[in-house]
């Protein structure tokens, strides 16, 4: 697809600045979806995709290496316990969860804090939220949700170019679809999930505004 009418080459042109301009103005003013419609459609489509590909393996995130089981040694040294006690303590809502988040964020920043690493970190939070909701553990869902919200804000602030913003947008839209799917099936964590859904929608709107403000990457021929 050529994307927009300005991409038509000379052989395609109808040659009319005025008529083409009117048609483009008409499409822009009366035929284009508003931002919320776009977000709703995207969430619905990806929710369907999540449903059909639930069995497919998820990509391995570097942060998965830093899951509680692996972090136990480090956290145990940093804090108080060892073994299973420390693993439990480093889970969302546990007393060492904040310490674990601090380690993660420190490692992330030392690694350059790229958009992909931040997306991986948010993916990890989404997994924690999912597990907490599945377990009916609202404290854990709260803790992971708060961390997720902070990570979304930090990632949005850190993304400075179009590629990073687009990658972040795609990831948050996926999270939004996943959270909405969970909200449909879980009444217990509804308030938590609604808050996160609102956070994601607001983040997407902010990212869209920033993307719109960036100079176009494909100049008109």
């Amino acid at each position: 697809m050529r994307g927009e009418t300005e991409r038509m080459d000379d052989s395609d042109r109808v040659g009319e600045g005025e008529l083409e301009g009117l048609l483009r103005a008409y499409a822009g003013a009366r035929l284009s979806p508003d931002q919320w419609a776009s977000i709703r459609m995207r969430a619905a489509v990806l929710e369907h995709g999540h449903g059909t590909s639930a069995a497919s393996a998820r990509r391995i995130s570097w942060l998965r290496v830093l899951r509680p089981a692996t972090l136990v040694g480090l956290i145990a040294i940093l804090a108080v316990g060892t073994g299973a006690t420390a693993a439990l303590a480093a889970s969302p809502g546990g007393p060492l969860y904040d310490a674990r988040l601090w380690v993660e964020t420190t490692v992330l920043n030392l690694s350059g804090g790229t958009a992909q690493l931040r997306v991986d970190q948010m993916d990890e939070r989404i997994d924690e939220i999912t597990n907490a909701v599945d377990d009916g553990n609202t404290n854990a869902a709260d803790a992971a949700g708060n961390a997720y919200g902070a990570e979304v804000s930090a990632a949005a602030q850190a993304a400075q170019n179009r590629a990073d913003l687009q990658a972040l947008r795609a990831a948050i839209a996926n999270h939004l679809a996943h959270l909405q799917a969970m909200a449909h099936s879980s009444s217990k964590a509804q308030a938590n999930l609604d808050r996160l859904i609102a956070k994601d929608i607001a983040a997407l709107a902010t990212i869209d505004s920033r993307l719109a403000a960036l100079p176009s990457s494909s100049p008109t021929p």
């Binding site: 697809m1 050529r2 994307g3 927009e4 009418t5 991409r7 038509m8 395609d12 109808v14 040659g15 009319e16 005025e18 008529l19 083409e20 009117l22 048609l23 483009r24 103005a25 008409y26 499409a27 003013a29 009366r30 035929l31 284009s32 979806p33 508003d34 419609a37 776009s38 709703r40 459609m41 995207r42 619905a44 489509v45 990806l46 369907h48 995709g49 999540h50 059909t52 590909s53 497919s56 687009q166 947008r169 795609a170 990831a171 839209a173 996926n174 494909s218």
Partner: protein
């Protein structure tokens, strides 16, 4: 987004990469929506149908093979069939109507009113086209497809698309009072538009005629 990037995203999406499909959605959804809403009229229907188009695309993607067919053409063929099914099911045809009226916030009231008049005139002019002509205008100008992609979407020859577009443009010009001196004879005889022959178009002011 260039063709190579789209091909790469399509290949990733075919492997089940939802993030890649999300990027494809971001790239195409507004164009698909514009095409759909220009055909069905109601924004709420268009939103549902656009979703449906992408859900169908997601499900059909493993069976998609390029074979020289642009992905955009394949996607819009799905969109077109979805619209046709919708119209058949509803057993009614919703004429192109004024949809989502969005204020031009940066313009003053007079400019907004003038723009609204112009766009109303465009809507009326579009209603006077034949079904095929309107569909070509929707694919080419509202969705931004190339003639080749529009041909793929409509299952027609590229030359047929260009002919339909040429006649549609002529009809729109006449309806909107955008005249190109000598063009009406050219259109009637089926020759190329004046400007395609390298001649300078001369137009009557749109505002004075509308």
């Amino acid at each position: 987004m260039d063709d190579a990037t789209i091909d790469r995203l399509v290949a990733q999406a075919r492997q089940g990469d939802l993030q890649a499909f999300g990027t494809i959605f971001d790239h195409y959804h507004a164009a698909v929506y514009r095409f759909v809403v220009s055909r069905v009229g109601r924004p709420s229907d268009a939103e549902d149908l656009t979703q449906l188009v992408f859900v169908k695309a997601l499900e059909a993607l493993p069976r998609y093979t390029a074979r020289g067919v642009p992905f955009g053409g394949w996607l819009f063929r799905l969109a077109r069939n979805t619209v046709i099914d919708h119209v058949r099911t509803r057993r009614e045809h919703v004429e192109l109507e004024v949809v989502t009226r969005r204020a031009t916030e940066e313009a003053g009231p007079e400019a907004v009113a003038a723009l609204r008049d112009d766009l109303d005139a465009v809507a009326r002019a579009l209603e006077e086209l034949t079904e095929d002509q309107r569909e070509v205008i929707a694919l080419r100008f509202f969705a931004g497809l190339s003639a080749r992609e529009a041909a793929e979407a409509m299952g027609r020859q590229e030359g047929t698309i260009r002919g339909l577009q040429f006649r549609a443009i002529g009809a729109l010009r006449r309806s909107l009072g955008i005249e190109v001196i000598g063009a009406s004879m050219g259109e009637a005889s089926g020759s190329e538009p004046r400007e395609d022959r390298g001649e300078e178009p001369v137009r009557a002011p749109f505002r004075a005629q509308a």
